[in-house]
């Protein structure tokens, strides 16, 4: 959830708002020529900009930007927030719809315990104050994929408030300077997801899918700019951003657009915009109704959500009936900041590397599994995992779990390298072979491809001798004092060994022979 914030480098104040969604509203490309898009009303976020110390930018343009994020994250649960319907990725349209999801008259919401626990755990992880009593509200608007005509959310008294997330990013010449920032979390609220609309413009039809279980993350960014010391500017809301990359691009674009607009004497409209990822710009959304009034009211079918801690837990309470905040706190996994700190301490890893390891799902575990089975230096392992492995994965757009090279295979490869059985370049070759996934171990590949380093000193000396004999001009250059000339000889010897000799060993032999 926090990842987008790491990319926010805009000047000025910023605040964050996190919402927990029953499901996300992200949609994928639509089949059969339907264009997939969603037009919705304006944001439900009550913007309350925080007043913090200003850091005016030096230079002629003193602009500050304020960015607030509404993050919709789908809870990983077996069933939906208010119904027993299952949640599955890529299920056939409308196949996971309960009577409640279809808003059949007379159906009532029943809160899913797992979702409440997930919200509490998220709140704890984000240093929030957990509200022991929270309330549900109805937010009304008419839209085809909102069958009840309202969405159940937590507008007045959400489950968690006033949190913060400390994040770091790397700055400086070599991205070696780690800067800590704090994003404030205004509130975390449980919210029912709406459905999905597929607009078929050709046949002027809209198709509705009420499964509501696609995607995991969707962010709406509220952005305004102003001169430091002056009142905040009019904000725009860029809706439905579904990746950290697009979020960063949209925010950067929108800040610049607003500054340009204002500097050219224009004005900013309080509007909703969408981000065109192909053009890299934000464009106003069609919004006929203008400003919406969501007519919030308490959800009468859900009693207040009460949470307990060890102190307030009623005696003899059925653990299945009550939610104990302290018990959830105990179940909280190690938080990423702690893990990163440990990596730096334990392996002497660079902080920026610890970020990369944690930002990719499964990569840390992969790294740790390699570490268990190899004697190679942690730095070496880090480099192989972050550069070689991750590079291959990115190139083919694969997840870590889909890697054809297992941690054990990489560990074995690194062991071969560590005891100098193969050269670095041979190791790369072995990795490529492993990537093809033909079921061979690194040792088998090394032996089949004859990649092991030449350990026979005598044979190596003979090869060096032969090369020197064949290239008297180069030998002369060396003797005349050209320090680079010896590299040419080393290269020639390596070529003769089919790259199987350790260049440092060759260099030693050559130097000895040249000196004699």
């Amino acid at each position: 959830m926090a990842a987008p914030m790491l990319r926010l480098c805009c000047p000025g104040r910023r605040w964050a708002l996190a919402c927990i969604d029953g499901c996300s509203r992200h949609r994928r490309g639509a089949p059969n020529g339907c264009t997939s898009s969603r037009r919705r009303g304006q944001s439900s976020v009550a913007q309350q900009p925080f007043i913090t110390a200003q850091k005016p930018r030096k230079g002629e343009h003193e602009w500050a930007a304020v960015v607030g994020l509404e993050i919709h994250a789908q809870i990983s649960s077996k069933s939906k927030l208010f119904s027993g319907s299952q949640v599955h990725f890529a299920a056939p349209p409308n196949s996971l719809v309960s009577f409640f999801d279809a808003s059949l008259p007379g159906t009532l919401p029943v809160l899913n315990r797992r979702c409440v626990e997930a919200a509490v755990m998220t709140g704890l992880a984000l240093n929030c104050r957990i509200n022991k009593k929270s309330l549900f509200d109805r937010k009304h608007y008419f839209y085809a994929d909102l069958p009840a005509g309202y969405q159940i959310t937590q507008q007045r008294l959400p489950i968690a408030v006033n949190g913060s997330l400390v994040y770091s990013f790397c700055a400086g010449k070599n991205r070696s300077q780690v800067i800590n920032k704090t994003a404030r979390v205004k509130q975390i609220q449980l919210e029912q997801d709406s459905g999905k609309s597929l607009h078929d413009d050709l046949r002027s039809q809209t198709l509705i899918d009420l499964n509501r279980a696609e995607g995991q993350l969707r962010v709406d960014a509220n952005i305004s700019v102003h001169h430091p010391g002056e009142p905040l500017g009019v904000r725009t809301e860029v809706k439905n951003l579904n990746s950290a990359r697009f979020l960063a691009k949209a925010i950067d674009y929108e800040i610049q657009r607003q500054i340009n607009e204002l500097e050219n004497g224009g004005e900013i409209l309080n509007e909703t915009r969408s981000f065109d990822s192909k053009l890299g710009c934000t464009i106003p959304m069609r919004d006929k109704e203008g400003k919406q009034d969501y007519r919030f009211m308490p959800e009468p079918n859900l009693p207040p959500l009460l949470l307990y801690d060890t102190e307030s837990l009623p005696a003899g309470a059925d653990p299945q009936q009550v939610i104990d905040i302290d018990r959830i706190r105990e179940q909280l996994p190690e938080l990423p900041s702690v893990t990163r700190e440990k990596l730096v301490q334990q392996y002497g890893m660079l902080p920026e590397h610890s970020f990369t390891l944690l930002n990719e799902v499964g990569l840390l575990e992969f790294f740790q599994n390699v570490m268990k089975e190899t004697r190679a230096e942690p730095k070496k392992v880090t480099s192989w995992v972050l550069n070689t492995l991750l590079g291959f994965l990115k190139q083919q757009n694969l997840a870590v779990s889909e890697s054809p090279v297992t941690p054990s295979a990489l560990a074995e490869l690194l062991n071969l390298l560590d005891r100098k059985a193969i050269s670095s370049s041979a190791a790369k070759q072995v990795f490529e072979e492993l990537w093809r996934n033909e079921g061979k171990t690194p040792a088998q590949i090394v032996s089949e491809k004859k990649l092991e380093l030449m350990q026979d000193q005598e044979a190596l000396e003979q090869l060096c001798h032969a090369v020197m004999e064949g290239h008297p001009q180069v030998v002369m250059d060396v003797k005349k004092g050209n320090p680079r000339a010896i590299n040419k000889l080393i290269g020639l010897v390596r070529k003769a060994t089919l790259s199987r000799a350790d260049p440092t060993v060759i260099k030693e032999i050559l130097e000895k022979k040249l000196a004699s």
């Binding site: 009577f99 279809a102 808003s103 059949l104 008259p105 007379g106 159906t107 009532l108 919401p109 029943v110 809160l111 109805r138 009304h140 008419f142 085809a144 069958p147 009840a148 005509g149 309202y150 809209t206 509705i208 006929k288 009034d293 007519r295 919030f296 009211m297 009468p300 079918n301 859900l302 009693p303 009936q321």
Partner: protein
């Protein structure tokens, strides 16, 4: 085996005392569930003109009767309601049976599931005779404003009423002077009152069960909020709606409540604590009771006849040794306007789902989704529903929310606290009128609009909904015109059993007469031979 054998009792139309025991009769095979079902179906046909039913589920009922009959033959009856014909207001979802809310919006809508209360009745072997008429979406107090037309009060055709009319009037056209049932559960009230079934489900948001019960000479129970599941009840006001029970005697209401009460995982507002079966003791001594008479309920609009029956009832308790005291519910006068704001706001919200997309009516207009919504809702809802939606949305607007909705909520709390204060002072139940007067003729009733009528007619009943309290209307006597007048008892929250116990004592004292529908039933007499079906009561 049942805790205590309860017996149904057939009462003859002519005499309350002559009765046969239905349960025993069913058990002994004197009458079979199928015969009973057919008798009720036959009365439904005879009384079709009352417009009590929107849908008669004849096939379903006969099939259920057949199943019930098999069980009785094997000696495995499911309980007191096995084989007993019941009716359900047409705002409860019934699987496979059209559920309309008497609205064009839901005409043709067939729910795929049963409301929890319906399912519980079916699980007990009850026979579902059909779905009863109401005001559209239960918004009204006359059962006159549904798309299927008004419900006629069976008492319009009773011997008691006709004889009085003959004495008074000269030569009025009787058919044009039929009486309303009250509402909005008027179809259920007429169905029970005219002997087409033994019990019916109504819904009660502001008095919709108690009001028609009073006008039709029935017991009308509004249980405590949270005691009975609302799952499957198409909502009017979620925070006040309660499934209601209409029967011909208090014991019957208690039996039905015993079946319906309890936690439902599908309704998060139902109580978690287990509910014990309801068994009503026969109270013999009321001397330890304290009956409260709220002084604010003595309004100028109250008819003198109702007022005198009310004080007669108070005297009855007093004469039997009960303590009867005047109490004050000081916020009563704000109740109706507060109810109006809260009710319309929730209505605006609840009606938002009727957009023509997933179910129900959809107009032909397809220029845009918005145009489709607008036309669908204009065609689907009547003026009353549209009016309430508009007011509700007005109250919920950001600029009005604090001044209307939040204020109304605060007033609601004050009204609820009034009751708490009174009950904390030692009062066991409150005794009040149910309605201002007896049922009025339709022609009279429609002189005022729905809103005015609802505001007048809900005056004694809706406060119990705002406070979530159990309340029951019990018929006391006939008016000078020969029409039923009921009085209301309001009890402490979740003390429904105590409330019904007192109601049962009262019922026994007043001996309310049975409706005499000989003329209406003439043809039925052959069906029943010597045992004309009148009402069922349950005796221990």
């Amino acid at each position: 085996m049942p805790l205590k054998r309860m017996h149904f009792q057939f009462c003859l139309q002519t005499s309350y005392k002559a009765a046969i025991k239905v349960s025993a009769a069913l058990k002994q095979g004197h009458i079979t569930p199928t015969e009973l079902c057919q008798k009720c179906l036959s009365i439904i046909k005879k009384t079709k003109f009352l417009n009590a039913y929107i849908t008669v589920s004849e096939e379903v009922a006969l099939k259920q009767a057949e199943e019930s009959e098999k069980r009785y033959k094997k000696g495995h009856s499911l309980g007191d309601l096995d084989g007993i014909p019941i009716a359900v207001k047409d705002n409860f979802s019934t699987s496979g049976i059209e559920t309309t809310c008497a609205s064009n919006m839901l005409r043709g809508y067939v729910p795929p599931y049963n409301a929890t209360v319906v399912q519980k009745l079916l699980d007990q072997g009850a026979l579902l005779m059909g779905k009863t008429n109401l005001d559209e979406f239960a918004m009204g107090s006359g059962s006159t404003d549904g798309v299927f037309g008004p419900v006629k009060n069976p008492w319009s055709y009773s011997k008691q009423y006709r004889e009085k009319r003959k004495q008074k009037s000269h030569c009025e056209n009787e058919d044009s002077n039929w009486l309303i049932t009250g509402g909005s559960s008027g179809g259920s009230a007429a169905a029970v009152s005219a002997f087409t079934c033994f019990a019916a489900l109504g819904s009660d948001t502001g008095g919709s069960t108690r009001n028609p019960a009073a006008h039709c000479g029935l017991v009308g129970l509004k249980p405590s909020y949270g005691l009975v599941s609302r799952h499957g009840l198409i909502p009017l006001v979620n925070s006040m709606d309660v499934p209601g029970i209409l029967t011909r005697c208090v014991d019957d209401a208690a039996i039905v409540l015993g079946v319906l009460a309890g936690h439902d995982p599908k309704d998060s507002t139902t109580i978690q604590d287990p509910v014990k079966p309801f068994v009503l003791p026969s109270l013999t001594d009321v001397s330890k009771l304290c009956i409260g008479i709220p002084k604010e309920y003595l309004t100028p609009e109250l008819s003198s006849e109702v007022r005198s029956l009310w004080s007669k009832a108070a005297n009855l308790f007093e004469s039997e040794g009960a303590k009867v005291i005047e109490v004050s519910l000081p916020h009563t006068s704000y109740s109706i306007v507060c109810y109006h704001v809260l009710c319309t706001s929730e209505v605006a919200s609840n009606m938002a789902r009727f957009d023509g997309l997933e179910y129900g009516h959809r107009c032909d207009i397809d220029v845009s989704t918005e145009a489709m919504y607008a036309a669908t809702r204009r065609e689907g809802f009547n003026d009353v529903v549209r009016g309430r939606i508009l007011s509700g949305n007005f109250f919920l607007l950001k600029e009005n929310y604090e001044n209307y909705f939040v204020k109304a909520q605060k007033v609601r709390r004050l009204i609820a606290n009034d009751f708490v204060t009174v009950f904390n002072s030692g009062v066991d139940v409150l005794l009040t009128p149910t309605t201002l007067s007896e049922a009025v003729p339709y022609t009279e009733f429609i002189k005022e609009d729905n809103r005015t009528r609802s505001a007048q007619d809900d005056i004694f009943t809706q406060a119990a909904n705002m406070a979530g309290l159990p309340a029951v209307s019990v018929p006391m006597a006939l008016s000078n015109q020969g029409l039923p007048i009921g009085l209301q008892f309001i009890g402490r929250a979740f003390c429904d059993q105590e409330l019904l116990t007192i109601a049962k004592w009262f019922e026994k004292q007043v001996q309310f007469p049975v409706i005499q529908l000989q003329e209406l039933m003439d043809d039925c007499s052959s069906v029943f031979e010597n045992e004309k079906l009148a009402s069922v009561s349950l005796k221990q």
